[in-house]
Assembly symmetry: C2
Homo-oligomer: 265 residues x 2
């Protein structure tokens, strides 16, 4: 363990220390995507998410232009990559409250573009609950300890765990969920918890375009048990059909087809 001391005692130091509130409070937001063949895939959706998150978390005067310019350069340099763009708040003032003079940091993480995952996943219930807060719901903010603990329950490469708020299933540890019941595709409402994923949004758009019956709704355990087909989504994977939910087999008739329509690229 490395111990670092940050001395903000004013009599000891001449100028105030600017504190990274991302690390102090998780005070920020991010998006995760991929660069394929020098293109940042679905960049408009990623940039829209960043702007919307900034508004909801009161990052006033947040602008994209410098970030966009940087990404253009990075895309020229790197053919394929995983990319995470994080924005956090910085200020000299102590305590939780946001200072009117807060500054923002942007960190862009580039990583190897991982292969598309193995063909099917197995969905099982997580022990870790999803965090519930109507004021933070939907946003991909930096408060992700629930996902950290849930993702640590995943034991194999073909597993994803399902996170609940009480009796309602909300999402996977790193994905959104779609299930089919009686030829209607259902996905959990995210107005109280969970993240509105970019691939989720693309799937919903595809459903509308293809006139596929679907509903954004509350899904409890009893309803989940009726699913005949299911898949999870995220920007690194695209659509990942689920071969089973808690050991009960599914048919993947439609989800295999959708996988080709909404690719991660």
């Amino acid at each position: 363990m490395i111990i670092q001391v940050i001395n903000q005692i004013t009599t000891d130091s001449s100028k105030p220390v600017s504190l990274d509130r991302g690390g102090l409070f998780g005070d920020g937001f991010f998006t995760t995507g991929i660069i394929v063949e020098h293109q940042f895939c679905h960049q408009k959706l990623h940039y829209d998410r960043l702007v919307k998150s900034a508004q909801k978390l009161q990052f006033t005067d947040f602008t994209l232009s410098a970030i966009e310019n940087n990404i253009v350069e990075l895309c020229q340099k790197h053919q394929n990559a995983g990319i995470r763009i994080s924005i956090s708040r910085r200020q000299t003032q102590r305590g939780y409250a946001i200072s009117p003079r807060a500054e923002y940091d942007c960190t862009i993480h580039l990583s190897d573009l991982t292969d598309a995952p193995i063909e099917f996943c197995e969905l099982i219930d997580a022990n870790t609950s999803v965090s519930y807060n109507k004021d933070l719901a939907g946003i991909k903010h930096l408060n992700r300890l629930d996902s950290v603990l849930a993702a640590s329950e995943v034991l194999t490469k073909h597993q994803e765990v399902l996170m609940y708020h009480e009796d309602l299933v909300i999402c996977g540890s790193r994905s959104n969920l779609f299930i089919n019941i009686d030829d209607v595709w259902l996905t959990p409402k995210l107005d109280r918890c969970g993240i509105e994923g970019i691939t989720r949004r693309r799937v919903l758009k595809m459903f509308k375009q293809q006139q596929i019956k679907h509903q954004i709704t509350s899904i409890d355990r009893a309803l989940l048990d009726q699913a005949s087909d299911a898949f999870v989504t995220n920007s690194l994977i695209g659509i990942w059909p689920a071969k089973s939910i808690n050991g009960r087999a599914l048919h993947n008739k439609d989800s295999n087809h959708f996988k080709k329509l909404v690719t991660r690229k």
Copy 2:
């Protein structure tokens, strides 16, 4: 805005980058206290909290000794200070899941010891809800966006805002709450949300020692409206009597007395 690029693409860089998961996911925990006359006040309670948080958040093999040694030195050097001790996780592996080879960072922030606050506070309802998660409740972890948004609603130096989960009051933006109804002191249950504060624990101990009737319970808005006396607590303040709740005046008969029994020192 400063933009930093962290390149983890393995073909580009020889060795893997160690990522600060405190900033990435709020993956860590902290405690906030005071140093008075070269003593870290209530240090046993602070250290106990750190160990308990480490256990709950799966910081395996976390040990205090190096931190304790550092604090001993800092206390020799500084007569009075505010102190925050933060522990976060670091690993080279991407994604939410905790690596078995995670390393820990400790950051100790020293700041000016602020004056005791003005004599009374006014409690008003926050618009921001408290985050609800039974697996994270009670812990002073780094996922504090709810407190950030609520504390930003505080408009004056003598205000504290009350945070709710649905109809239940849970805490202040930076404090725990105690209210008196019919000569019984009530404080919200924190098994689903909120932080178990160190001053809250000291108040409960004092109640037991002095045989003062008290109860840890659910407090809804109707019950809150019946309070005749109230105070909030934290380690920087001690006990802060509330002169009113949402504009309704309180008498502070007992809370003024308790303030002398449970000081911040």
